[in-house]
């Protein structure tokens, strides 16, 4: 069992500030096909679609509440975070997860907006499949 270092929730103000900054920028458009390879190379060290590894399984993540993947031992901070994963929240998360949820154990940042968009497009496509969509 993983031992968890304590953490605290981010403030609503911090989250709002992040959101405001992101809304001021034009969102990048992602391509799911390109996103698959990026997902493997950027996220694959810790994550898989269907297995909880260093990080939780990602199939179905879009539309899911943060900290709710089955059988994964989240940090208390992420488990308590009131966040639903969608394109916007995932984009904020991948920019700087620690700024979004203080106390998370994920520190990986992806600064390239196009790469984030492609990975999110891929996760969205995989989540739609998980939900029985096309």
């Amino acid at each position: 069992m993983r031992k968890i270092l304590g953490g605290t929730l981010c403030s609503a103000a911090a989250l709002a500030a992040l959101g405001s900054a992101a809304l001021a920028q034009s969102p990048a458009t992602g391509d799911a096909a390109g996103g698959e390879k990026l997902y493997q190379t950027k996220c694959g060290g810790c994550h898989s679609l269907d297995m909880n590894r260093v990080g939780p399984a990602h199939r179905g993540v879009v539309g899911r509440k943060a900290g709710s993947a089955p059988n994964y031992a989240y940090s208390p901070a992420l488990k308590a975070a009131d966040i639903a994963w969608d394109e916007k929240t995932l984009d904020l998360w991948l920019q700087n997860p620690m700024a979004m949820v203080k106390g998370t154990r994920m520190g990986f940042r992806l600064s390239d907006a196009q790469q984030r968009a492609e990975i999110i497009a891929y996760l969205t496509a995989m989540s739609a499949k998980a939900a029985g969509g096309s």
Partner: protein, 200 residues
Amino acid sequence: MTFHQSPADRALSRRKALAAGGVLSVAGISVLAGSASAGLFGGKNKKTKGDPEADAALINTAISLEHEGIAAYQIAAESGLLEPAVLEVGVLFQSHHKAHRDELARIVTTLGGTPVEADSQAAYAEQIEAGNLKNQADILQLAIRLELGAANAYLGVLPGLMDPDYHHLFARLAADEAMHWAALKGAVGEALPQNALSFG
């Protein structure tokens, strides 16, 4: 099989060529791997800077990554699918990951945290879907994916570390993982990236 207890120094002295692809020599790897030897990561009794709790949490996540890497090489070694020369390189790379784990654990302890423990070997086998590994080529491709992912993970986490000394450490860890990845790519005869700045 005595995979678990191979000291880095002994592994570094080996001189057999890697059979697969004939591109990589263990001697060459040994030179590159010198930076991973224990004791070269930094001094002891370091005063903490920034946010020790946040840094310890990120470093603990890195330990989880190293645990998985160590287990993956162990599963590969025990599979019976590897040629002796490939196994020898796997032993070397696993020793690097053990050195990474030990140094990261030392830092977490210094910061007042508790280093995360490894899961069972069976749990790791499930996580990496070891049941799909049918031959040496499958294992090498898995190792390539994990090493690339690890290099990118270290580079992606580096900016979030509060103490700049850990930036240096994470860059060195990423360099080790990138070295493993490049060696494995050469061993299977795959081309290296055409563009610069492919990591991170």
